[in-house]
Symmetry: C2
Subunit: 319 residues, 2 copies
DNA sequence: GTACAAGCTGAAACGCGTTTCAGAGCAAGC
DNA sequence: GCTTGCTCTGAAACGCGTTTCAGCTTGTAC
């Protein structure tokens, strides 16, 4: 627990000199540098990160705000973030919100209290208007569309992405298409619904299945689907996990994919491949990486960045 | 950016009094308390967490060390950790190691530099001997077996757990059993191999498939399996994800489960259910919660805890 | 011989909240 | 009347690394 002053005393130099040695400042004579280094070794000096943080005002930490840490949908984002953070010697404080507004606020309060240098928000229920009030306390980057110009954003445009997916289904000859959403009122779900009505002639409210978030939900969907009078011939999911849950249960119930119903996933999680799931791959790892970089750069005076990435179709056997 | 001294000046009291108001200390007259509160409101005071941290010596943070943040196997652990952390107003700093020793060391160095109050290690390649050298800097809790008595541990005993799984297969009439491991030399894999040789009469080296970590690996395994001359009639996996990857590909290649080969998973991830996967459920969320509690309690002077939890069989259609 | 730059050094201030300690005022107990 | 104890208050020290600024020495340029 020796501190910098102990070292200074032991080496018979000033604390400034010790600090200079630690930070490899050139203006230290070889002799004193050596004395300091010896003292540090002898006393087992370890720099106190808390003091450093208070002194410099930089925490080397970002908070990552996301609804569920164990939802595989966020896995690739987080992976990209983690990799980027490592290269810049940054730490990630994970904050699980479960879509609760108070939790989102608590997470962004870390910014206010200087507990983190910036915030990366993967999904949120908070309005951008409210989010903007936190902007004065540090950079914020989101993975969603519609951010105001003060907030960095790297995302896929879910309207275009969904449009692309619907066209894949159309090209495969499907006209009667249903869509599966997570929360109906999230910005991305709203964009998806718009794309659905714009793109699909036979689109109808009854074929929008919303509230499906997990693979378990996907399993349940089979019953909901089978109980429909008029069924769509193809389903476009907004998560591979939900799609897989559906596939598994469908097989058990004798529903043949893609003959009875085609299935198109969304996100491109590796496990989809094992089951031959057709999907629209979203470059989530790239997004994670770019979100980190945006936040980092903005912190060092860089501009707000807003980037929109595109999805690509990964063919499988379910369409 | 007003600080406590600005408030004191504004309210015409000492900084001590301001601090007392902030911390709800009783010995403050109503009049001064009000003056201070008014000053805080007027100047928009926000407590600086960094200063608090330096002053109290407590960071309110634990580092969570795990190989891959996006590997679903760790999802439930992390979920349990996050929930417990929330109740104690603690933050989790996630550290992804990719099983690299230098990364594990860097993570535990946070402890040395007082950047976190404790460490929770979900998986590690570091020896317990080395880990013990970090113990002086704060509490450590691991999710693995074999920890020395200075290190808290909440885990499933993989020997017993694997034994239980092998008996499930035996009871279903399987004699020729193969096992699938992640890294062959990890402590849990070693325990699993021991259980395998102890429990299965026809056990053989060739039927130990190791190096299978992801669903993609599980998919690959089908080829490896099919190219065996003498094939086992049942496979016991050590991860549901790998098992699912196998199931998906097996179906595509016309390998019928469980007629041609039975499949038993391990961990109990929800998505397994959708595919009717038989599995041994590991109480990972409970473990996460308990690991947090152990670390927290130890920090406040509590004892080291070592707990072993058991797995339960979840029947499915693949055995 | 003078000026200016570069190398080296350390005292003091800074970031900011908490805690200790000393002291004043006042009421209750004997 | 005196002791004891509680309420209230603030100065100063503490946690600890960085940065600014002033000052000294030595070297180089003209």
């Amino acid at each position: 627990m020796a501190n910098i002053r102990d070292i200074a005393r032991h080496a018979n130099v000033s604390v400034t000199t010790v600090s200079r040695v630690i930070n490899a400042h050139p203006y230290v004579s070889d002799e004193k540098r050596e004395r300091v280094q010896r003292a540090m070794k002898e006393l087992g000096y370890l720099r106190n990160q808390q003091a450093l943080t208070l002194s410099t005002g930089r925490t080397q930490r970002f908070v990552v705000v996301l609804p569920y840490m164990d939802h595989p949908y966020y896995g690739l984002f987080v992976n990209g973030l983690a990799k980027a953070a490592l290269t810049k010697d940054y730490r990630l404080v994970m904050w699980q919100t479960e879509y609760r507004l108070d939790q989102e606020r608590q997470a962004l309060d870390l910014l206010k209290h200087r507990e983190v240098d910036g915030a990366i928000v993967l999904s949120h229920t908070m309005t951008f208007e409210e989010m903007t009030t936190y902007r004065a306390y540090g950079p914020i980057a989101v993975a969603t569309v519609g951010a105001p110009e003060t907030i960095s954003s790297v995302h896929v445009d879910h309207y275009t992405a969904f449009q692309a997916g619907l066209r894949v289904l159309a090209e495969a000859g499907h006209e009667d298409i249903g869509i599966i959403l997570s929360r109906a009122d999230s910005p991305s779900s709203i964009a998806r619904q718009r794309a659905y009505f714009d793109e699909v002639a036979s689109a109808r409210e009854r074929w929008i299945f919303s509230g499906y978030l997990t693979s378990e939900d996907g399993k349940q969907l089979v019953s909901a689907f089978l109980s429909e009078q008029e069924r769509p011939r193809a389903l476009f999911f907004s998560s591979d996990y939900v799609a897989l849950g559906f596939l598994g249960e469908a097989a058990r119930r004798g529903l043949r994919v893609p003959y009875d119903v085609a299935v198109l996933g969304f996100d491109g999680h590796p496990i989809g491949q094992a089951f031959g799931l057709s999907t629209m791959r979203s470059p989530n790892e790239d997004i994670g990486r770019a979100l980190f970089d945006a936040t980092f750069q903005e912190m060092t005076g860089g501009p707000v960045v807003q980037k929109s990435l595109t999805v690509t179709h990964i063919p499988g056997m379910t369409v």
